[in-house]
Structures are given as structure tokens and as C-alpha cells.
């Protein structure tokens, strides 16, 4: 995210020379924020498009198919075209729908998914939220991700459709249930690092590259698995895709959405997915730090390492989701409450003891 810094610096420099004495400095700040927001939105949308392409290709190869290959080289532009198609489609709002909720839901869902990107450390000492320097990044992230359920509920309720309602109820129950073990599992990592700041968590892992990753601490393996399971459930992927289970609930909470609103849901889903990948990479795989030691002997920018690691995690999640069948609602709940929560408490105790006597 050197680019962001550059843009920010350039903007501030230009603005202050142009408008010295004419406008208060606060406007310069606001403009810088707007530019940063636009950049991050573009980045997330682009990322989601790439991920959708990747997902389709991975699924195709797993299933012995070819996948998109017509539009652009190797079908790379397929998802762009799909997005354009959705953009020009008619926006249908059912007559009986709650118009306001129906419209706000996809926007809320998408914005919430984007907000998480602010606190990920892209590079040493660089987060997008550096303007507000968040030292409780992890806590913020969890708070944000638990907001996503509001988008789902709004969409499901506002559509005034029974399938949507069932999907939204399922989604709400699922997201809230899986929030708890995820939080507990992440606290284990926080105990290990001694800080809620994601930057500090990465700093702790960067010293000797690959060897000092959190991944190699045996006491963090249980939290790692719990986090991965919960995160899969949080982003509604198979085997936990019951809110949008297409063979049961048609399309779940976004049954009644079309056009760009549907695209928002779709993009947000993939933005969330990549967020999980990045958080996993940050917590367990050394984030932006190179796997070959610090400073990076290959001089590859940290942001590329982060994207690469996140992409690996995402591909693994895709691989899993094209392999497994779907859980049933009650099994999903009992998995969360009867298995994952006790297990996460257990791992919390274990990690605490390890930290005490280390």
C-alpha cells in the first residue's frame, strides 16, 4: 500500500500549496479520506472479481470441467463481463417488499465487509487506518464481522419472501453462534502475541521468517482449526452454506435480489472470504512478513506476500467447499455449541497455561 501513502502525501502536498490560507486543513483530511475510501473500494471489488474467477476455475478443474475460457485470455474477463451484465440488469423490487430495507441491505452488507480491510497490516507500519492508528485491530475486526448478520437479516426480512426469511433466520443463528468460538480461538492468538494490534501480532512472527510463524506453536493448532471452521461458517461457505443453500432455499436471503444489488451481495461474500484468508495469514502465517527472514532477502513488497498467503488460504477453503456436502441446521448449531465452544475454552486454558510457564 505504498501507493496509498504516495497518493496521500501528494494530495496533502498539492492541497496545502494550492489552498494555503484559503481552506482549513480539515478539508484536506476529508479529501484524503475520500480518496483512500475509493481506492479501497476499487481494490476490494477487483479482488472479489478475481476471486470469483478463481473459484470458478478451481471448481471447474476439480469437477473435470474447463471453466470460463472464452472472454479474454483464459476467460480472465468473464467475471468483469458478468459484473457489467448485472450492472445493466433491471433492478427488481418485489411489490410487497420493504423498499428501504431491501435497498439498504446489500449496501450495508458490502460496506461492512469492506470495513474489515482497514486494519490489516499490509506492510510494515502501514494500515489503511493509519490515520486513526488502531491498536485494538483484532477487536475491531471481530466487531465489524459480527455486523454482517445485520445485512443478511435486513435482506431476508425486507424481501418479504419466505425463502429469504428462512435463509436470513438461518444466517443470523449461524453467524451469531460461530462468533463465540471464533472470538475465543482468536483470544488464544492474542495471548500468544500479548497484543490486540494486528501489526504487533505480525511483528512477533517476522524475526526468522517461516520458522517463527504462529503456525508452528502446537498449542495454537486447536485455535487454528477452530478459527478456520468458524470463519468458513462466518462467510457462509460449504459445508456451512445453509443461509443460501441453493438446493433447499433456492438462494436463501438473496432470493429476491437482482442486478447490482445481487452483485453487491456476491462481491461482499468474496470480500469476506478474502478477509478471512488475510486474517488467517496475519495471525498464523506471518502476515506481510517474508517467509525467508526479516528483512526480506528477496525484496518482495510485504503486501504481495500477504496477498499470496491469503490467496493460498482462500484456495484451500475453495477446495474444501467443493468437496464436502452441507450440514443440516441442527447439526450446524450443535457443532458450534457442543463442540467448538467447549473446545475453544479448552484451548484458551491450554494457551494460558503455556503462556504462564513459557
Amino acid at each position: 500500500m505504498e501507493i496509498l501513502k504516495l497518493i496521500d502525501n501528494w494530495l496533502r502536498g498539492a492541497m496545502t500549496t494550492w489552498f494555503t490560507g484559503h481552506v482549513p486543513l480539515i478539508f484536506v483530511d476529508i479529501l484524503a479520506w475520500i480518496v483512500a475510501t475509493v481506492v479501497i473500494l476499487l481494490f476490494v471489488s477487483l479482488l472479489a472479481l478475481i476471486l470469483i474467477y478463481l473459484e470458478r476455475k478451481v471448481a471447474a478443474y476439480i469437477q473435470g470441467r474447463i471453466g470460463p475460457e472464452r472472454v479474454g485470455p483464459w476467460g480472465l474477463l468473464q467475471t468483469v463481463m458478468d459484473a457489467l451484465k448485472l450492472l445493466e440488469k433491471e433492478d427488481i423490487v418485489p411489490a410487497a417488499a420493504d423498499h428501504l430495507l431491501h435497498t439498504v441491505a446489500p449496501v450495508a452488507f458490502f460496506m461492512i465487509s469492506v470495513l474489515g480491510y482497514l486494519v490489516i497490516p499490509w506492510e510494515e507500519t502501514v494500515t489503511i487506518a493509519k490515520f486513526v492508528d488502531l491498536n485494538v485491530g483484532l477487536l475491531y475486526l471481530l466487531a465489524i464481522s459480527s455486523l454482517a448478520v445485520i445485512g443478511v437479516l435486513m435482506g431476508g426480512w425486507g424481501s418479504n419472501n419466505k425463502w429469504s426469511l428462512l435463509g436470513a433466520m438461518r444466517g443470523a443463528a449461524q453467524m451469531i453462534s460461530y462468533e463465540v468460538p471464533m472470538l475465543l480461538a482468536l483470544i488464544c492468538v492474542v495471548l500468544q502475541a500479548g497484543s490486540l494490534s494486528l501489526g504487533v501480532i505480525v511483528d512477533q512472527q517476522k524475526a526468522m521468517g517461516l520458522l517463527t510463524w504462529n503456525l508452528w506453536h502446537p498449542w495454537l493448532w486447536l485455535p487454528l482449526i477452530i478459527y478456520l471452521v468458524c470463519a468458513t461458517a462466518e462467510v457462509n461457505r460449504v459445508p456451512f452454506d445453509i443461509p443460501a443453500a441453493e438446493s433447499e432455499l433456492v438462494a436463501g436471503f438473496h432470493t429476491e435480489y437482482s442486478g447490482m444489488k445481487f452483485a453487491f451481495f456476491f462481491l461482499a461474500e468474496y470480500a469476506n472470504l478474502f478477509m478471512v484468508g488475510m486474517l488467517f495469514a496475519t495471525l498464523f502465517l506471518g502476515g506481510w512478513a517474508s517467509p525467508f527472514g526479516y528483512p526480506d532477502p528477496l525484496h518482495i513488497p510485504g503486501v504481495l506476500w500477504l496477498l499470496f498467503k491469503a490467496m493460498l488460504v482462500v484456495i484451500f477453503m475453495m477446495w474444501v467447499s467443493w468437496t464436502l456436502p452441507r450440514l443440516r441446521v441442527d447439526q450446524l448449531m450443535s457443532l458450534a455449541w457442543k463442540l467448538l465452544i467447549p473446545a475453544s475454552f479448552l484451548s484458551l486454558v491450554v494457551v494460558s497455561i503455556v503462556m504462564l510457564y513459557r
Binding site: I62, V238, P239, S247, V250, P325, R326, R328, V329, Q331
Partner: protein
């Protein structure tokens, strides 16, 4: 379900279908839901009704044959077999031995193809998309062999009254043997991927229990009946053609749930492979057609023939009135009877269970509505 006294809850009425991803065609299920629980389910059928039994009355015995494929479009050969046997019974024709062998080969190949569709769709219904494409990949090889033999992929019109359209194509037996060699390891693969998967097992074990007595009461046949512990396979119980000479097991499982039906079908694919091997080994040379008059006129009378299809007993009942077309034709479609047992299986089920149960009934809507 217990609720606080001041809280009034109501059941939701939900229309599942006729346009729904998992109703396997145009079936409408009227559901009463209490939350996620299905309190009441009522199948509403008839969206694909094409009055084929009536069509039969205006066509002569030969002309109706291509229509027989269209009852259960996943099992064309089995339907033709039932119709051809009924009409041959009416006319007193006995097909040659080679013809009988080839008919059995075709019916068993079609059984494999049909069970592969089932196998894929039950995976889809429980949320696993990948087995579907693997099954269709294997099915494609069966379908290509059938296409080679009779020129069409689904609606074969291969059997004729008194014989077959043509003999087996050249290299058919070699290609079929190659497929039979490749196929069992693939079944093992699906088994590891889907059947043994812990999520799939939890989704299907103990779900959709069908009592044997209830099953008999509804006239349920085929893998569903055998999944409920009733040993009834027409290839054994009322053998036709060369089946008495063939060695194969009839899988019967007593559990009566979705998993039992699933396992029965999976085992039946293996048994079909066994049957095909034996048929290819024993396939005699000789004529395939017996001489039949150019214009078929049956003496007044009636004939009922039943064969074991992939979904159960396919029965064809023909009444002749001395003309060249049937006075009445009745088709006993296994999917129709099996579907009637759906409400009996859905006691206390979740919506997700309902989908799995419906998948395990393995209906073809063309067969249900006719």
C-alpha cells in the same frame, strides 16, 4: 416446540416448486413449516402430464413403442422392455435367446446410467456438487455406448416387437468390457467421496424412515422397498428372460432410511456390472428377430408385464380388442407410487431432510405424471 405463553406462533405455508432446484422437475410440494420443521407435506403432481396412456389408444402397437421411452426418460430401455414384453405376451411371441441377452444388457446398462443420475442428484441435494459431475462423466460413457447401439442418447427406441432394431454394433462388447473394467474403481471413489463422508452420513442416517408395512401399503417398489428390508426384486421374484441363469445379489437393507436406499442403489450398480460381465461372457450368436406379421393384430385379451426398473416395478397393462391398436394401456409407473410415500417419510423432518428424502425417492417427473 415450547413457547412462552404470550407468544403466538403460527405455521408457515410454503410452496416448494414447481420451480425449485431440488424437486427434480416440475413437482410442487405444499409444506407446512414450524420454523425449520416440516409439519405436513403434500405432493402436488400433474405438471408434466402428457396423457400418454390415451395416446396409446390411437396408435398401433408398433407406433407406441417410441412413446414408452418417454415415461421415465432416464430409463428408456427399461420402459421399452416392459411394453415390448406386454405386447409380445399379447401376441404370443417369444424373442430369440440372443435378443433376450441383448435386451438384458441394455436394461442393465440403463440401470447403471439411471442410478448414476440418482447418485449425483442426492449429492446435489445434500450440498455436494462435485459427485454430480463425476457421476455424469461416467454416465456419459454408458450413454455413448447406448447411442452407438441405437442412435439416440436418451429416447432409444431400440427394442422392437419380436426383436431389436439392429444387432449390437461392432466393438460394442469390447467397449462395454473396457467400461466395466474402469467403472468399479470409480464407484469406490464416489463411495469414499460421498457415501463415507461423515457429513453425508449424518445427513442421511436415520432420516426419512419408511416402515416396511407402510411401504407395501403404498405400493412402493424397487430400491426404496429393499432399503426398508423387504426382499423384493422382480429379477428374482418373478424372473423374466435369462435372469434365472445369472448370478447376482439383491441388496436388502433393513434400516429404511435415506442412507439404506442410497446403499442399495450403490450396490445395485456393482451387481449390474456383475450381470453385464456374465451376459457378455454368455452372449450367444444367432438371430435377433423373430418373424412377426407386418400388421400386428391382437386377439381380444389382456396382458400385464412387469420388469424391475431402477426405480421399481415398471408394469405395462394392455387390453386388446382385436384391432391393431390397444383398447386401453395402463402404465404402472414406479416413481408415482414411490412418491406417494413421501408424507409417510417426512415425520418430524427438517426442510433440509425433506430435500434429502425426496432425493432418495429418486423420482422422474415424466414417470410420475405420464
Amino acid at each position: 416446540m415450547t413457547t412462552a405463553p404470550h407468544c403466538v406462533t403460527d405455521e408457515i405455508f410454503l410452496n416448494m416448486g414447481p420451480q425449485h432446484p431440488s424437486t427434480h422437475g416440475v413437482l410442487r410440494l405444499m409444506l407446512n413449516l414450524d420454523g425449520e420443521r416440516v409439519m405436513h407435506v403434500e405432493p402436488d403432481i400433474g405438471f408434466l402430464h402428457s396423457s400418454m396412456e390415451k395416446v396409446a389408444e390411437s396408435l398401433d402397437y408398433r407406433q407406441f413403442l417410441p412413446y414408452a421411452d418417454r415415461f421415465d426418460y432416464l430409463n428408456g430401455m427399461g420402459n421399452e422392455l416392459a411394453y415390448v414384453r406386454a405386447v409380445e405376451g399379447l401376441l404370443g411371441i417369444e424373442p430369440t435367446l440372443r435378443c433376450q441377452y441383448i435386451r438384458v444388457i441394455m436394461a442393465e446398462m440403463n440401470r447403471i446410467a439411471s442410478h448414476l443420475v440418482y447418485y449425483g442428484t442426492i449429492g446435489m441435494d445434500t450440498g455436494a456438487t462435485t459427485p454430480f459431475l463425476y457421476c455424469f462423466r461416467e454416465r456419459e460413457r454408458v450413454i455413448e455406448l447406448l447411442e452407438n447401439a441405437c442412435g439416440q442418447r436418451l429416447l432409444y427406441h431400440y427394442f422392437r416387437i419380436g426383436g431389436l432394431r439392429n444387432d449390437l454394433p461392432r466393438d460394442f462388447c469390447t467397449k462395454l468390457r473396457a467400461f466395466l473394467h474402469d467403472f468399479p474403481p470409480r464407484i469406490k471413489e464416489y463411495e469414499a467421496l460421498l457415501t463415507k463422508n461423515v457429513i453425508f452420513r449424518h445427513r442421511t442416517e436415520g432420516v426419512g424412515y419408511l416402515d416396511p408395512a407402510v411401504a407395501r401399503g403404498y405400493g412402493v417398489t424397487g430400491p426404496m422397498l429393499r432399503g426398508s428390508g423387504v426382499d423384493n426384486d422382480l429379477r428374482r421374484a418373478d424372473p423374466y428372460y435369462i435372469y434365472p441363469e445369472l448370478e447376482f445379489d439383491v441388496p436388502v437393507l433393513p434400516e429404511g432410511d435415506v442412507m439404506a436406499r442410497h446403499l442399495v442403489r450403490q450396490e445395485e450398480m456393482r451387481q449390474s456390472v456383475r450381470i453385464l460381465h456374465q451376459c457378455l461372457d454368455k452372449l450367444p450368436a444367432g438371430e435377433i428377430n423373430v418373424k412377426v406379421p407386418r400388421r400386428l393384430k391382437a386377439e381380444p385379451g389382456e396382458s400385464y408385464a412387469r420388469v424391475e426398473g431402477p426405480r421399481g416395478e415398471i408394469g405395462c397393462y394392455v387390453i386388446a380388442d382385436g384391432t391393431d391398436h390397444p383398447y386401453r394401456l395402463h402404465w404402472r409407473a414406479p416413481s408415482f407410487y414411490n412418491l406417494q410415500a413421501l408424507p409417510a417419510m417426512c415425520g418430524n423432518a427438517y426442510v433440509a431432510d425433506l430435500i434429502a428424502i425426496l432425493g432418495s425417492v429418486d423420482i422422474t417427473l415424466g414417470d410420475v405424471d405420464r
